[in-house]
């Protein structure tokens, strides 16, 4: 048969990869995919990755592809990769990585939310609330509530010139700043809060952030 095949199986160091052709018709692709998945050469539960190339897969088509591949029972899809994303998805990713800046005082009863990182230039007064999907950086006094990583990012941190918060939250962990945390009342200057590996929120000097969360730095170069 001279017809080019729509599905090629490749072995890589991460396991089997099903590379789907992005030029052929979708129905043809599914048909061939179904045949390939029933290949008697494959036995046991094999994990495969699927690369769709430049073909865009929304959630529904992705589900359909997974279903076709997994139905014979030999293969399990570990992930689907694609070279294209929608503008919407792209914008969402950009906002998540962006940092938003708020200049002013977050007063009692006010709430400031950010989809990415949040930089506050000013104080956060008691009963004021700052919340971000990323990290929170405050050039001023944090005397209210702060919630970093509100969508579940455990790597997020809360840093402030004066960390005197009443409540600190990172991902789903809450810490109320009671008198037992003597470190706060003694040296509130230039500190950062992060989620320690023991699962609790820890507070350290701002200077240690470089070692605690090296991934937060996005700056390249500067030798």
């Amino acid at each position: 048969m001279s017809k080019q095949q729509c599905v090629t199986i490749k072995g890589t160091k991460d396991g089997l990869v099903l590379r789907l052709d992005d030029k052929c018709a979708y129905s043809e692709l599914l048909e061939e995919l179904g045949k390939k998945a029933q290949d008697p050469g494959l036995d046991g539960a094999v994990e495969v990755q699927i690369h769709t190339g430049s073909r865009y897969c929304n959630d529904e088509t992705a589900k359909e592809i997974i279903k076709v591949v997994e139905t014979p029972g030999n293969l399990r899809v570990s992930k689907i990769q694609s070279d294209v994303i929608t503008m919407e998805e792209c914008n969402r990713r950009v906002t998540e990585r962006q940092s938003e800046t708020y200049i002013g005082i977050v007063r009692s009863g006010q709430e400031v939310r950010a989809k990415g990182d949040l930089v506050v230039i000013g104080d956060v007064n008691p009963n004021g609330h700052v919340s971000a999907a990323g990290s929170i950086y405050i050039l001023g006094r944090l005397k209210g509530k702060a919630h970093a990583g509100n969508a579940g990012n455990k790597e997020a941190v809360i840093a402030a010139s004066w960390l005197e918060a009443t409540h600190l939250m990172i991902a789903d962990q809450v810490e109320t700043m009671t008198d037992e945390l003597a470190i706060l009342s003694e040296h509130p200057e230039m500190e950062c809060a992060y989620l320690h590996t023991n699962g609790f929120i820890a507070i350290d000097r701002l200077q240690d952030l470089r070692l605690l969360r090296p991934g937060l730095s996005t700056f390249k170069g500067g030798s």
């Binding site: 005082i105 007063r107 009692s108 009863g109 006010q110 104080d123 007064n125 008691p126 009963n127």
Partner: protein, 265 residues
Amino acid sequence: MGEAIVITSGKGGVGKTTSSANLGTALALQGKKVCLVDTDIGLRNLDVILGLENRIIYDLVDVIEGRCRIQQALVKDKRFEDRLFLLPAAQTTDKNAVNPEQMKDLITELKRDYDYILIDCPAGIEQGYKNAVAGADKAIVVTTPEISAVRDADRIIGLLEQEDIEPPKLIINRIRGGLIDSGDTLDVNDITTHLSIDLLGIVLDDQNVISSSNKGEPVVMDPNNPAALGYRNIARRILGESVPLMSVNTGKPGFFGKLKALFTK
């Protein structure tokens, strides 16, 4: 065209009404034409402090509902010729009897005839507050050196900053030098850095404030009273004069005090 200033605090009992009465009186003493508007419908006090309680015939709700003209409802304070008037609040209904648009129209009408309209705001951040702020051009926030009052002031400043008015200014009321000295209360600097708005003035705590309020004579009429001096200074600052901030007398004798004590022994 005059300007309307709302006097508010969030918390109750910090001296909004007392400050309104005294600042209104002080501005009238300076020769300005002043109208005080009590918006604390249902819990009116401003008339009592000014000693005008038994002269009220119509009130703010009567004006808004069209039962009388503004001029009929205004109560004149005879001590100041034609310079101090009060628009009293109604006592028989509640804050929902009025809405912000009606208040705005009312204040706009008053601004034509008066230099200053001081709006005494009720405690809280509900309907009464919204009514009081609706017509104002400026705002004064009153607080006392207590953490609870400062918290509420912070909240109210946050709300005022979202309104279409000038940035609010601060009055710290009932300052007690002795307590600041012993570190048992917040000092002026603590409060202003926490709230970070301009300080319009401070008023010392004085027992004559209460006794004169009970008599229906605002304390500011007594030129020798320390609290009166605070209010007079604030009134002068409202008029645009630059008056240095008075020092808080902490009760400790200064150098000359000690010297004097040495000779009078």
